[in-house]
Amino acid sequence: MTWEWDVIWKYFPRLLEGAWLTMELVLISGLIGIALAVPLALMRASSRTWVKALPFAYIYFFRGTPLLVQIFLVYYGASQFEAVRESLLWPVLKQPYWCAIIAFSLNTAAYSAELFRSAIQAIPTGEIEAAEAMGMSKSVQIRRIIMPRAFGIALPAYGNEVILMLKGSALASTITLLDLTGMARTIIARTYTPLEMFLAAGFVYLAISALIIALFRFMEYRFNRYQYYHHSNTPDDLDPQLRDPHIDQK
């Protein structure tokens, strides 16, 4: 087997261009996804059946089918209808870039809505009751108590979802986009060095996920600071009778 390092070095800048598009796709669809997920999660956490039904069906469909089907449904499927092709949306829907963003956003919205819902339901009842006792209306409760609390609870799980989204973004290459995977495939078609190029692309993916993990660790530390708080230990020569076992944990 011949291993060609030169090819990796020569085409690495092109791979980074692809990585840029990958990160752009993840960031934009992640933001749209959150915007869609929050109302979905609030509706899904409702106790009324008719409010719950629609988000439930939406989440069930998008979590139960492969992302590839969803991308193809948006990119190829939309063109089946005359009405879509003649509508104002067509200039957007005929571009693979926007189709990828639409599909990724809808997909991640379903997964994150489920995360946010479980976070909303994990908020201790006492905190909601306290807000009610303070005379907060439902909307003030959502804004001041439920959203900030759910955000902190959902943060670690949402970090995983972003990593999954990064991995899913490789599917953009199936609809002709030159993201990291797409770029690697184009270069391979020219140089025929599949192992070298895919390995290089894989390392760029690992670097991006390491970056995302570091970012979320930092955010967790920042927003869930109460979990990282440690009492400073009392001095060792303190009278044993004055010790408080709750503070004195080593």
Binding site: M1, Y60, F61, G64, T65, P66, L67, L68, V69, Q70, F72, L73, Y76, G77, A78, S79, Q80, F81, I163, L166, K167, G168, S169, A170, L171, S173, T174, T181, A184, R185, I188, P194, L195, F198, L199, A201, G202, Y205, L206, S209, A210
Partner: protein, 230 residues
């Protein structure tokens, strides 16, 4: 809904998807068990290898894995075969490449599930097995594994759902699964939305069946919880 005579094609694709998913599950479970054993072993090299495997694979897109094994796998295999003096051309078909890629990905996540489950088993279970005169391997298969199943099945069920959805990626390298067959139907009928929607519904049915099966398995693996049904 009018499938215009392409229904049998979709059914054959569904069968292919099921075969691919089950084969990858079987191989992936073996990878997962080996990975968990290595992560919990006393040998630092084994631990290091297993950690490298899970970190690496969980950070890579599954599509990249499928493409690498399909396009680069034969090169790699021929290189290894070259050591043993075998110089003929080796070709990797889409099915084998798919099973390899999906089971490697499944195994990396399953390693974590099995590791957590193994850690949950009290040490006394091991000790009593050994005290009864069983070998380590027999204790593992007779005493530990049945209890690990009970703890691991919910996690493994979720992973299998992910695996089932990832099988669609193997259509990119030309396996005649649901996705590929619906694309064939689309190229003849020019109705992409209809056929991709049918494909989506087939996947929904498969995932729903998996959920039901996982719940059934959870009940089977946990006889203790079945006792007091009110």
């Amino acid at each position: 809904m009018d499938l215009q005579g392409f229904g049998h094609l979709l059914i054959s694709g569904t069968w292919m998807t099921i075969q691919l998913a089950l084969s990858s599950l079987l191989v992936g479970l073996v990878f997962g068990l080996i990975g968990a054993a290595a992560k919990l072993s006393k040998n630092p090299l084994a631990r290091w290898l297993a950690t490298g495997y899970t970190t690496l694979v969980r950070g890579l897109p599954e599509l990249l894995l499928v493409l690498t094994i399909y396009f680069g796998g034969s090169q790699l295999l021929m290189w290894i075969a070259g050591w043993f003096g075998y110089t003929e051309y080796i070709e990797i078909g889409p099915f084998v490449a798919g099973v390899a890629a999906l089971s490697i990905a499944f195994g990396a996540y399953a390693t974590e599930v099995f590791r957590m489950a193994l850690l949950e088993i009290p040490k006394g279970q091991w000790e009593s097995g050994l005290a009864c005169g069983m070998s380590t391997l027999r204790t593992f298969f007779r005493i530990i594994l049945p209890q690990v199943w009970r703890l691991a099945i919910p996690g493994l069920g979720n992973l299998f759902q992910v695996l089932l959805k990832d099988t669609a990626l193997v259509s990119v390298v030309g396996l005649n699964d649901i996705m590929r067959q619906s694309q064939v139907a689309i190229s003849a009928t020019k109705e992409p939305f209809t056929f991709f929607m049918v494909a989506a519904c087939i996947y929904l049915l498969l995932t729903a069946a998996t959920t039901a099966f996982t719940m059934f398995m959870e009940r089977v693996a946990n006889p203790a919880a079945r006792g007091n049904r009110a």
